[in-house]
């Protein structure tokens, strides 16, 4: 179902057209991904698991989970959450590994090597961290290329309808969607943006492989800033793979980017800030929220976020978990139950609830493949989200010239991601073009703002993680 009205958003849809899905005509509007258009028509099943052929829908909606892969115009394994629907496109549910039934219009591997794209700074990911890095590096004279696998830039900001926290100097009080627009407005001419262009590999020294319009390109960069974000964690329970089980970010993408509801009634799992905020956004979009369950004894979200959800009458059940989802082809309900202080299920407390959407908000994991490929020293720091690259105070990893910023470096807020991006951008351009009083001052300001953001009790975890990172630096 497509939303026409929303209290915060106005949806700018393009012209409507038809494409085919397993031979049947399907309507889409310009700017909709294939998967979003299928959702609008009620088709949540996009693929099937390889071994047991269980129905699968997308979990992440941002190109990370690979559950949305379908055959598009004869080419299998197309991530339909990333690729926009086009008139007369032929979309098919693929079976098994898929088989190449058409030759891509352009050859992926041309007979002669394409000339390399050359730039001072290459940024991987056009979210808050990547865009901030590009803005600050280019302001001081670097030529920057930004590569983004999604069709829109702004990363997760484009679906954040709520006003941000932080300090007034750093966009606090402004809605995430509008912060994204502000960042885009600050991009100067020295920044080139490549959308729908995934980075698929790193080759030493300083070479990235990217795919643009089905062709493989080589990018040569003096400095590389990886702001690839994070993927949402899964939770183990029977039927967790049913279509209708989504990561919180996927629900936000459907509701807030495309104005398409994933269902009518939702169970939210996880009462951290994201879980509580997305539950509230679901109410704003017109969904019902049956409950928020949280395994911990306390709510992790800010009290103000929890309070605004509670006063709408949505229960937040601490020490509760999801026992199972049920449904044949998609979710039709869930069983929730209490757990005791030793995390054991309390028998007899099971309760079946009728929901068609189960939304998981149980943490995020940094996207780190490129760092492994580049041979960056990796650390396990649970406070920062698990496996993260070692980096110094200016976000440079153990491989000189490769930087990290945002959720790829530690799972935190967009406000700190923007600051980390600035820091990486400033340091990269300083190394390239030489230092200046201005760069020096700006770096100091950013460091101070980061310290301030992380100073309160909610910053405790990140501070502990940062401390471990520092110790690793001095012991290396």
């Amino acid at each position: 179902m497509r939303l026409e009205k929303h209290p915060i958003l106005s949806f700018q849809r393009g012209e409507s057209f038809t494409f085919t899905f397993d031979g049947k005509p399907m309507t889409a509007f310009g700017g909709e991904s294939i998967a979003a258009a299928l959702h609008a028509a009620g088709h949540k099943t996009l693929s099937h698991s390889l071994r047991h052929e269980r129905p699968r829908g997308f979990f992440c909606a941002i190109g990370k989970c690979s559950s949305c892969m379908m055959e598009v115009d004869g080419i299998p394994n197309v991530k339909t959450c990333l690729v926009l629907a086009e008139p007369d496109m032929e979309v098919r549910t693929q079976t098994g590994w898929g088989e190449l039934r058409a030759v891509p219009k352009k050859r992926l591997y041309p007979r002669r090597e394409l000339p390399a794209l050359k730039t001072d700074v290459a940024v991987v990911g056009a979210g808050p961290a990547g865009l901030s890095a590009a803005i600050y590096a280019s302001r001081h004279g670097a030529r920057v290329m930004v590569f983004e696998e999604n069709s829109q830039i702004g990363g997760q900001l484009i679906k954040q309808t709520h006003m941000f926290f932080g300090s007034r100097d750093h966009h606090a009080g402004v809605r995430g969607i509008d912060i994204g627009d502000k960042l885009i407005g600050q991009l100067g001419e020295a920044v080139q943006i490549f959308t729908s262009t995934p980075v698929v590999g790193y080759y030493a020294p300083g070479v990235l492989a990217v795919i643009k319009d089905n062709r493989l390109h080589k990018v040569e960069a003096e400095k590389i800033i990886v702001a690839a974000g994070a993927s949402e964690n899964m939770l183990a329970f029977p039927n967790n793979d049913l279509p209708g089980v989504y990561g919180a970010g996927a629900v936000q993408t459907l509701m807030n980017v495309y104005g398409i509801l994933p269902g009518r009634r939702m169970l939210m799992v996880g009462a951290g800030n994201i879980g509580v905020i997305v539950a509230y956004q679901a109410l704003q979009a017109g969904m019902e929220v049956a409950a928020v369950v949280e395994a911990l004894p306390t709510i992790g979200a800010y009290q103000v976020h929890a309070s605004k959800l509670r006063r709408c009458g949505v229960p937040i059940l601490t020490r509760h978990t999801i026992k199972r989802a049920f449904g044949d082809s998609s979710v039709v309900g869930a069983t929730i139950m209490k757990i005791d202080d030793k995390w054991r299920p309390v028998e007899g407390t099971e309760e079946d609830i009728k929901v068609d959407t189960i939304c998981l908000s149980v943490g995020l994991k940094p996207t780190t493949e490129i760092f492994y490929q580049a041979g960056c020293r990796m650390l396990t720091i649970p406070e920062l989200g698990g496996e993260v690259p070692y980096r110094n105070e200016y976000m440079e990893t153990s491989v000189p010239g490769i930087y990290v910023a945002g959720d790829a470096s530690s799972i935190e807020e967009a406000s700190s991601a923007m600051l980390e991006g600035r820091l990486a951008g400033l340091d990269a351009v300083e190394q390239l073009k030489g230092s200046s009083q201005e760069i020096h001052l700006q770096k100091g300001e950013v460091e101070e703002s980061l310290r301030e953001l992380r100073a309160g009790p909610f910053g405790e975890k990140i501070r502990a993680g940062e401390e471990k990172m520092k110790q690793e630096g001095s012991s290396a």
Binding site: P7, L283, T298, V304, S307, I316, E452, A455
Partner: protein
């Protein structure tokens, strides 16, 4: 342990509330934000300087009830939608409570609504007196509801009845 960590909503004694005397003098803002989180737009929003966050942006906002005139500008500026305006002088035995409301459709003036407390439980019936939705509020309308005076510190949301 504070019960809001478990339940998600505040009790009256978690909040710094204006005295009965202050409330008898006219409209006043009530800030329902009790955790140290990095946030400070309320401080800059107040045209009278009644709200301060001294030192770190993580500190809890303080409001000087004597300086506050209940203008409600802070209500739409709070990212946590945690500020309300209470006017116990609205009418004889009736109070007016202003609250942020980011939902559609907006209620109509004169409409009867079900009044909800902080936990979302219905505790009475109120009347929509006005809906303020200026451009500067950036899509956070404020709905002002009149109600029995003794409900003024309890009602924090509402539900439309005939939907």
């Amino acid at each position: 342990m504070n019960s809001y960590l478990e339940k998600g909503y505040l009790n009256l004694d978690d909040i710094t509330i204006p005295s009965v005397d202050r409330r008898a003098k006219g409209p006043v803002a009530v800030i329902e934000c009790v955790q140290e989180i990095p946030c400070n737009p309320c401080q800059d929003a107040c045209p009278r300087g009644a709200i301060t966050i001294p030192g770190s942006i993580n500190n809890i906002p303080r409001i000087d009830f004597a300086t506050c005139n209940g203008c409600a500008i802070c209500v739409a500026n709070c990212p946590g939608l945690a500020i309300f305006v209470v006017d116990e002088t609205y009418a004889e035995d009736r109070a007016l409570v202003g609250m942020p409301y980011e939902f559609l459709p907006l209620p109509e003036k004169g409409e009867e609504v079900s009044l909800l407390d902080r936990s979302g439980a219905p505790i009475g019936v109120g009347i929509v007196e006005r809906v303020r939705n200026a451009k500067a509020q950036d899509r956070t309308p404020i709905v002002f509801l009149s109600m029995e005076r003794e409900l003024s510190m309890l009602v924090r949301f509402f539900r439309r009845i005939d939907l």
